[in-house]
């Protein structure tokens, strides 16, 4: 049966708000942003109301020869180190709270609280941890790991600032991935675990030989999400260090932000840098999908 004209009209009427908003604020920015990457377009254009002028690959040349962009790219890629640590830890935590013991609901909830904490609140609280007289130094001195005379502010030291911020990313992230992993864990048949127990496998062996292989699809999905978030890290940097000290926490999106609204108001160059970042993101996704597709789990062959 062909739908009536009135039905079609109603359908589009109901869809209209979502469609218009998505076209204007989701699709258009991707396309127009890509176009801007190939043009000269700055705050001066806005002032004189002149349209962007096509300059080909000029912006990309500017960006790629910019020392700051290179620093940003290196730092964004360095941030990927957080991914395996965060994923393994989250999976391990999920395994822990998946046990049938009383009080697990409390622990799950407690671990999720950092996830619902605004980054600006995290900045306020963690600043007190990282400062020279802060909690972290006190703990390290308490356990005699560092000497009080050698203490420093973790966010003020170019060697430690990025790692300190990664710790906050870890803190805000592990509860989130824990929930995703819990969903996957509940689909693992408990007989497998029990059989391994009877065979005398310890917790460590069960984790690496049963949980990790069976959770592979979830692990890969979470790793992808986590990797994309890592190379796109911006908010943490803005609230903690603004890219400093000595650009040691300067990331690619920080570059895009400073080029656009933070400092230079050069939308063309900022968009070009954004496009390059998108390419990095696509490469990461592609690698991830390749890993997901090929190499089916070997357990089938063995069984």
């Amino acid at each position: 049966m062909k739908p009536k004209a009135a039905t079609i009209f109603t359908a589009y009427l109901l869809l209209a708000p979502a469609l218009v908003l998505m076209l204007v604020f989701t699709f258009y920015p991707v396309l127009y942003g890509a176009y801007l990457g190939f043009t000269k377009y700055t705050a001066a254009n806005l002032g004189s109301n002149t349209p962007p002028t096509w300059i080909g690959l000029e912006n990309f040349r500017t960006v790629l020869s910019d020392e700051l962009f290179r620093i940003g790219l290196v730092n964004s890629l360095k941030y990927l180190i957080i991914v395996p640590i965060l994923q393994i830890a989250s999976l391990a935590v999920a395994v822990l709270v998946n046990k049938q013991l009383p009080g697990m609901a409390f622990f799950r909830a407690a671990y999720y609280i950092p996830v619902i904490t605004s980054i600006s609140l995290a900045a306020v609280m963690w600043d007190w941890v990282f400062t020279r007289e802060g909690l972290l130094n006190w703990l390290l001195e308490f356990f005699k790991i560092i000497d009080p005379s050698g203490s420093f502010g973790w966010l003020l030291n170019p060697n430690t600032a990025l790692w300190a911020i990664m710790l906050v990313t870890f803190w805000r992230g592990f509860g989130y991935y824990m929930v995703l992993y819990l969903g996957g864990l509940q689909s693992i048949p408990s007989e497998l675990e029990e059989a391994a127990l009877l065979d005398g496998a310890n917790a460590w062996q069960r984790f690496w030989k049963i949980t990790v292989p069976l959770m592979r699809p979830t692990i890969l999905l979470c790793s992808l999400l986590s990797s994309l978030a890592a190379i796109r890290v911006l908010e943490e940097i803005l609230v903690f260090t603004n890219g400093g000290p000595l650009n040691s926490t300067y990331t690619v999106l920080m570059y895009v932000y400073q080029k656009s609204f933070g400092l230079d108001f050069d939308y063309g160059v900022a968009s070009a840098a954004g496009l390059l970042l998108a390419v990095v993101g696509f490469v990461l996704s592609y690698i991830n999908f390749r890993i997901t597709r090929e190499d089916p789990p070997k357990r089938e062959a063995k069984a």
């Binding site: 109603t10 109901l14 806005l46 013991l101 407690a110 904490t117 306020v124 929930v179 609204f261």
Partner: protein
């Protein structure tokens, strides 16, 4: 078989590890809470870095809360947060509830294409969309207004999928019966679909509320130069700068921002633990 004592030690070790992780997760809140209620006027003087005493305040007061409220003018930012969050929640619910209906229960040309395009937004690189969105808002004259912050964020594939998922579960026979009785599609949506999907609407509303309340980057960019419209999440850093030497006030301000989120979270815990992402499968 393991003997009872060994088992007991295992369980104890489990709880020890769980508790240490819990401490890692929530110590910043406990510490901030302790600082916020510390009486800073005691003669001997107090420091927030005086461990471990600063975690267990001797004299308790709520003065820091009143002081930060009055001196910093916190009510302005609190009101901004409430306005921006309410508009965003209402907007998201209306737009999503409407758009999901034709996508789940009506047949019309272009449906699959539209649905596919919405799916695509999940993988589009959107991290630099803020550049063009600010330029667009500027052209529309909405930059530096509440609406400028709200409008670009309310139509999301996520919200539409959550609603669509619920609508799909509503039996077609129910809709057919209503259509036989002469109900229009709008009436079906309003009288049948919306009441039946109240749990999903609540879930989506709560997620949107918490996300908007906490969001930092987008409101800070969309309200560049309109400081008096900033939500609490953005003003928090200004607060930190202004009271650099009075951490007690900063902690009180932080608690004021965190408590509503905590209340919502505790009330709707199950929702978060289930992971709404699961609903979009």
């Amino acid at each position: 078989m393991k003997t009872a004592p060994v088992k007991l030690i295992g369980v104890a070790a489990n709880y020890l590890v769980l508790s240490l992780i819990a401490l890692f997760a929530i110590f910043p809140f406990l510490w901030t809470l302790a600082i916020s209620i510390t009486d800073k006027t005691v003669a001997s003087g107090v420091s927030i870095f005086d461990f471990p005493q600063s975690l267990f305040p001797k004299a308790i007061t709520f003065n820091n809360f009143f002081e930060v409220y009055r001196v910093f003018g916190l009510e302005k930012y609190l009101l901004n947060s409430i306005i921006i969050s309410s508009l965003t929640v209402i907007g998201t619910l209306v737009v999503s509830a409407m758009a999901a209906y034709p996508l789940s229960k009506m047949t019309f040309p272009g449906r699959d294409l539209i649905f596919g395009a919405m799916l695509a937004t999940l993988v589009l690189p959107s991290e630099t969309n803020f550049i063009v969105n600010v330029l667009s808002l500027n052209k529309m004259g909405l930059l530096g207004t509440y609406w400028g912050v709200v409008i670009p964020t309310i139509a999301t594939a996520f919200g539409i999928f959550v609603m669509r998922q619920t609508y799909v579960a509503v039996p077609d026979s129910l809709l057919e019966a209503a259509r036989m009785d002469g109900a229009t599609e709008f009436q079906i949506l309003w009288r049948i679909m919306v009441p039946l999907s109240r749990p999903a609407l609540t879930a989506l509303g709560i997620f949107t509320l918490v996300n908007t309340w906490n969001s930092y980057f987008w409101p800070s960019v969309a309200l560049l130069g309109a400081d008096n419209l900033q939500p609490l999440s953005v003003a928090m850093l200004k607060l930190k700068g202004q009271f650099n030497h009075d951490s007690f006030n900063v902690a009180a301000g932080a608690m004021i921002m965190m408590i509503p989120v905590l209340v919502v979270f505790i009330a709707a815990q199950r929702l978060f633990m289930r992971g709404l992402e699961g609903a979009v499968k």
